[in-house]
Amino acid sequence: MAFVVTALGSHTLDSLLELVCVDLQLTQTQDNLARCHYGAVADWLSRKGNPLRELSPHIFPQGSQRIGTTTKPVGRREFDLDAVCKLDVSGCHPGELYKLIWDRLAQHETYRPMMKRMPRCIRLEYSGDFHLDIAPAIPDVECGGNCILVPDLNANLALMHPQNNVWKSTNPIDQAEWFEDRCVPVMILNERYAKAQVDSVPDAEAVHAKPALKRSVQLFKRWRDVEYAKRNNLATPSIILTTLSGHFYDQQQLCTDALASILDSTVREIESCERLTITNPAHPSENICEKWDNTPACYRDFCNAVTAFRDRWIRLNRLRGIDEIEEELADLFGESTVQSVVRAMIDNRVSMPRRNGSLRVRPNSGLLLPATASSASISMPTNTFHGG
């Protein structure tokens, strides 16, 4: 079924969604905490005099923190930061590399009790609600460029087990670069990533400065978190949602239109093939749909859920009535978030200008406007609602 997906959105709805995205960002405290922990671990892994230092460690963030699409967890789930620790070695066993970095972290009294073995990374579980995943890596000489190899270990086998001699080739740096390129015209892109040994986590962007694609990804992920809150094992990974969004974003300025296009193109693609296959755009041989391969129910569920989301998004853009829109947004993105956002938007756009005398109105239609509105409007006269 074909939908018209262009120019659906309104600026008012987009403002509301922008505020939803503000609410989805990590709080300043969470963001600072993540940066502090990352900085401390990066320092420990790269410090002079440690055995890893000889192997030119390069530590850098990857994933949503790198590209500015983090979303606050729903309910009690932890938030995390993903990082890579690349060592300049070759020809080693994946378990050997993993052990090198594991041992260095274990030398730190604080980190030792926080470490958890994961198939492709070492997890540091901080008390509270944060964990840092550090993926050990070496250069992928065969693929070249920024490609890296990370251990793909079976956590139930010994590190050096012959069956654990498996690498996964990936390229998070160029993947992030590809995503950033999709956000803005190529001509205004700057050289982003310096060749420093320890790359800092990019500064959090103000949401109003965030391209529509990034806000769309935040909303897509948040929808996933809310939709799959009770069947989390079937949730589609963020990397898939991010890559689909990057592929199908078509330079729309409004997030409402951008997400409409992303969802509609995703559904059309699903309908036109047996099963979606998605690879890392910066590393075409890297399959990022492993979860769909391993759990076919996850793919089937995604197809149904994203189709329903697409249909609801179209309806949302046609809905009228702030109460009905609030109800639908609350259902999609979580009630606590949306109610506070509606209050904030009305306060900023109407109540504050009304208090300071800058609110304007077009009497013929009733449309309320900011102070900069055209001459077809008049100043809102002072009134006090009364009675009742």
Binding site: S10, T12, G321, S351, L368, N383, T384, H386, G387
Partner: protein, 151 residues
């Protein structure tokens, strides 16, 4: 606010026809009636609102359609007389006077009311401020922007 003498129904009609040309406005049997569509924001409902004035009396405002809904917990809608007419301004004459064109005062206030009504339905809070008649006049001014307290 406009500062001239009392406007007759004919003058109110003239103002409405110039400022709100899409409204259906007439004076019949000594009563002004003007009906128009108001939509405070592009995501708000479009509401058909009726403004009436009988000679010399205060204008009355009703929402014709869609039907107004009570709160989620069946609360009364804030700032309405008898849950029928909108209470848009102080009755003391400080804010609306017979010399004020309805088109430039009551019509904009009705749109503002519709906005706060939808937000009230959404959040349970009346963000438009106002005065509840049971609050003594001496503290009304101070509470001008306080939240509406649901009963």
């Amino acid at each position: 606010m406009i500062g001239r003498g009392r406007l007759g129904l004919g003058e109110q009609l003239a103002y409405l026809r110039v400022i709100c040309p899409d409204f259906e406005t007439e004076v019949r049997d000594g009563r002004l009636r003007s009906v128009g569509l108001l939509q405070p924001t592009e995501i708000s409902r479009q509401c058909r609102v009726e403004f009436t004035q009988a000679g010399g009396r205060s204008p009355e405002v009703r929402v014709i359609s869609p039907l107004l809904r009570r709160g989620r917990k069946d609360e009364d809608i804030p700032h309405m007389y008898d849950q029928v007419r909108l209470c848009l301004y102080l009755p003391s004459g400080e804010e609306w006077k017979p010399s004020d064109p309805i088109a430039l005062t009551v019509v904009p206030w009705a749109s503002l009311w519709l906005l706060y009504y939808e937000v009230w339905l959404a959040t349970g809070d009346w963000q438009g401020g106002g005065i509840h008649p049971s609050i003594p006049i001496s503290i009304r001014k101070e509470r001008n922007e306080t939240r509406f307290k649901r009963r």
